[in-house]
Symmetry: C2
Subunit: 153 residues, 2 copies
Amino acid sequence: MTDPNTPAEAPRPPGPSAAADPLAVPWLDAVRFDAAGLVTAVVQEAGSGRVLMVAWMNREALAETVRSGRATYWSRSRGRLWRKGESSGHDQSVREIRLDCDGDTVLLTVEQAGGIACHTGRHSCFFSRLDDGRWLAVDPVLRDPRSFYRESE
Amino acid sequence: MTDPNTPAEAPRPPGPSAAADPLAVPWLDAVRFDAAGLVTAVVQEAGSGRVLMVAWMNREALAETVRSGRATYWSRSRGRLWRKGESSGHDQSVREIRLDCDGDTVLLTVEQAGGIACHTGRHSCFFSRLDDGRWLAVDPVLRDPRSFYRESE
């Protein structure tokens, strides 16, 4: 659906640019980005079915995810595209993408590199369970985050 | 964590009201509601592990979900609390609630009444799969929505 010869590193034109624009594809028009240009992305692990994390995608992040087969999100805190695993090595190979009935949420099925999706070193970001009026961290830290974040080294 | 004698139908006081306020509980303070007072709620089916839907909760919806054991959301389109199944009969019994690492998304594990979460009569709202540049509806309609929405009768 996009030109396979377009290098991933090609700078995006600042405005609409007709045929060369990899974001000008009909399937993207079916996605209902919100006023901030974002959709919710739920990330589920292939095989285990565990929900690993929830993130945000803009049009470019979703197009890049489809083009590359690697999950790419929009970081609201950093204000830029963020390829999952770019600093931790824990990238996500995307097996399937689904859209919900009102078009404002995508569901990715992924294979999670290292078996660790969370920046805390846990399998899933959803490691806290409500238990008798308290949130309990019920999943173990599999690896010390200091060992996989280059920034922390 | 809330007074079990408080009837579900009790009108909520307009402002903070100290000890009687069922929303004044510490576990709710750990949830990071956004500027609109909402968190994302991902809903996963117990047993199958299917992600059924994504909705929104405000503080009151989350408290009511915990109090009642039935999933209750905030309807952004209707501007009011919405107990899932109140018109369709397809309610959700909540088995577990998890919170993610940054506190702005909850994950509910539910038993889905009727095996139908989607207003289209499908099992899951995520019935469209991206397939070679097109969204394909790959899951069947299990029941005609006109048969379970009272409004349509």
